[in-house]
């Protein structure tokens, strides 16, 4: 049950001294301003509208196939709550198992530390090529996007090649991802063909057929897959009781990166754990159906440390905090860490569908981004203060979330945190207006007196819509119309109809009861 707009009862203030995260999780400009620019981009709205509506239908179809979908969501939610409540124990358990299997674990407090660890590992394991630089291949990873790993590696003489088709489109187009699952969702096939023909020296002439474009990506990356010594990945799951990591993907670029290089470096947020391998029985149903709308994605890989004679023999994992502990400290917001990055919330969000992902600034756009980004950085420094308002609170995101994160409730909670942290306690026009309204509405006689003014107001506005108001209300009416004022209030109409009914000897509501009684 969602109690939208109801203030949450709290035992203590959510303030914490824990450090916030760094990197690509901060909105670049306030959401209301940047969203206006994106709203005027017709091509962008068409591309995103087409993509989100088709994936919504696919998801709904495969979810409807399962009779136990709600039980699966409940199980998913419970498993993640269990992890968060016992996170130190699960991390240590995971570390012991992964290490015992021959893997090496590194801990990173923030983006800088994670970037430095990865750089050091690449320098130790990737050869310097003829061009004087080193190379790594990458599987799509939100965590490395968040910490700005590619940009950092570039400054250290290391070229990182994205291998996911959409990430490749984004990278070649010198663009930013706009969706966590389909980062190039804002590009249509014609734009992609142009990017490929422009940026792939060996591409030749291409059509806009998706099969032709996929084939071009295969040819472009094949040699890199077969020759690169170091790969960097993220992880969808870390299994505490076995020390196993998992990556869910479609194209086989994940398998290439996880299997062929000599060294594998995985960057994973500390919240990605599941208690037990058996939990995958639920999560491998929840994730594919919620994300790509498939019963199962084409490829999923699991590895536990190092496997003798199979795949990379030099296996590393960087466990990343970068603000996650700060989010965990907010007891009303911490369930945002349960997110399994499926992107279902984006695909149903009326705000995301119109503004696209870039408007959110952060690596994490859409409804989940609107709560996760400010939770990772803290709303207090005003960096992500406008994101919790980037929602109509319609609740569609909560309905589709495979781990039942109550996004609307957390949005409302973060709005109140933002108000407390960033907005002056000095009385504003709004406060004055609300105080006045409270005084008036708190007493029937005062309300009745005010209502007597209605006929005059109705005449003054000629009964039409109100499109612009002065003062503080101006901002509110900049994107909304107020319906025309009626001639009479509900109170007045009620008094009149009651009087009329009584004069006829019965009232409607009494009449219903009597009839019901007779028939029984």
């Amino acid at each position: 049950m969602t109690f939208l707009g109801m203030p949450l009862m709290r035992s203590k203030h959510a303030h914490t001294d824990l450090p916030g995260g760094q990197g690509n999780i901060v909105e670049t400009e306030p959401f209301p301003e940047v969203s206006h620019q994106h709203l005027s981009n017709q091509q962008l709205r068409t591309n995103i509208g087409h993509a989100t509506s088709s994936i919504r239908d696919k998801r709904a179809g495969v979810v409807a196939e399962l009779d136990d979908w709600e039980e699966l969501r409940e199980a998913g939610s419970r498993a993640k709550n269990q992890v968060m409540a016992n996170l130190p124990e699960y991390l240590v358990e995971f570390e012991e198992n992964f290490t015992a299997a021959g893997g090496t674990i590194h801990w990173a407090r923030d983006a800088d530390e994670a970037n430095a660890i990865v750089t050091e590992l690449v320098e130790a394991n990737a050869p310097v090529l003829a061009n004087g630089r080193r190379e790594v291949i990458k599987v799509k990873s939100m965590a490395t996007q968040e910490i700005g790993l590619n940009e950092h590696l570039e400054t250290q003489g290391i070229d990182a090649f994205e291998t996911d088709l959409a990430e490749l489109i984004v990278q070649l187009g010198e663009d930013k991802p706009s969706h966590i699952l389909v980062p190039a969702i804002h590009r249509n096939r014609d734009e992609i063909r142009d990017i490929f023909m422009d940026k792939m020296p060996d591409a030749g002439k291409l059509t806009n057929d998706p099969a032709v474009l996929a084939e071009a990506a295969r040819r472009h990356l094949r040699h890199k897959f077969l020759t690169t010594k170091v790969a960097v990945s993220g992880a969808n799951f870390g299994i505490a009781d076995t020390g196993t990591l998992g990556v869910v993907e479609s194209e086989g670029n994940g398998r290439m990166c996880l299997t062929l290089p000599e060294t594998l470096i995985t960057v994973m947020g500390i919240e990605k754990l599941l208690p037990s391998f058996d939990d995958l029985g639920a999560f491998l149903q929840l994730l594919p159906r919620s994300s790509t709308g498939e019963r199962m994605n084409p490829y999923t890989s699991f590895w536990t440390g190092r496997t003798e004679g199979d795949g990379p023999q030099n296996v590393h994992l960087v466990l990343l905090d970068n603000g996650r502990t700060r989010a965990l400290a907010d007891e009303h917001g911490r369930t945002a860490l349960n997110c399994i990055r499926c992107s279902a919330c984006m695909n149903v969000c009326p705000v995301y569908e119109r503004t696209g992902g870039h408007a959110y600034g952060s690596t994490y756009p859409g409804p989940i981004g609107a709560i996760l980004s400010p939770l990772l950085t803290g709303v207090e420094d005003e960096a992500n203060g406008s994101l919790p308002y980037a929602s109509s609170l319609c609740g569609a995101c909560y309905d589709v979330c495979p781990v039942k994160i109550n996004i609307p409730e957390i949005l409302v909670h973060l709005r109140s945190e933002d108000v407390k942290a960033n907005h002056s306690p000095v009385s504003t026009q709004l406060d004055t207006a609300l105080t006045g309204a409270s005084w008036m509405m708190g007493d029937g006689k005062r309300m009745a007196a005010a209502e007597k003014g209605l006929p005059f107001a109705h005449k003054a506005t000629r009964g039409g819509q109100i499109n612009a108001l002065p003062g503080i209300a101006r901002a509110w009416t900049s994107s909304r119309d107020i319906p025309g004022l009626p001639e009479k209030s509900f109170h007045q109409l009620w008094a009149e109809s009651e009087g009329q009914a009584e004069s006829e000897g019965r009232t409607d509501h009494d009449g219903e009861t009597e009839n019901g009684g007779d028939e029984k």
Partner: protein, 246 residues
Amino acid sequence: MTDTAREEILGRINEALGRRGGGEYVSSTSGAVPSAPTERGAASAEVEHAHAGAPAAGGGVVGQSADYARTGTHSGEELIELLVDRLVDYKANVHRVTGDPAKTIADLLEAGSKIVVPRGLDESWLQAFTGDISVDAPGEELSIPELDSQAAVVTASAVAIAQTGTIVLDGSPECGRRAITLVPDHHICVVRVADVVDIVPEGIARLEATAALTFISGPSATSDIELERVEGVHGPRTLDVIILDS
């Protein structure tokens, strides 16, 4: 540096969870179950209890208190038909064989072509094929360029999940190491009827978690261009599944 980071992050988590002192964490020994007190987190008491009971029941945390389906309702021919339907839906080619699959395998391969097989593959399956067979074995692994020159790979499989059309390879001698089913462009995979289960939790229950596992549902695909599914990107572009009934 890293050790300090470890202690600091674990300390931060304890602080975030409101545990005493903020710097303590309970070390878990021999894969032990979390037992630290957690006053917060709505369902923690209930789920912790569940976790403690989990190993004996062979289920995870989730399994103890949730009631999602653990077993499917299909069996026999109905189960196999479901698997076939789902495999075909994701553009795998499906062949049903009773007894000896050798002829079917030979028909799917080009005569005289080069193929790779894992060391443990049943040799009789290849007796009708006339071509160049490389056996990939521990200590005698094919190099990546050698794998790249193979037209196809033939393997068995560990488990198949009917409801999702998923085949799982577990690195066993007849499945082989992961690279051999990845680099060649054509994968012929034999699924024994006895290894077919109905739903995902049944498949998970049959697997050894710490093996290198690959779940395959159809040939490689992408939906990255306007969310339109296109089969055939980096993984094998042709997947032939032979469902083998003894």
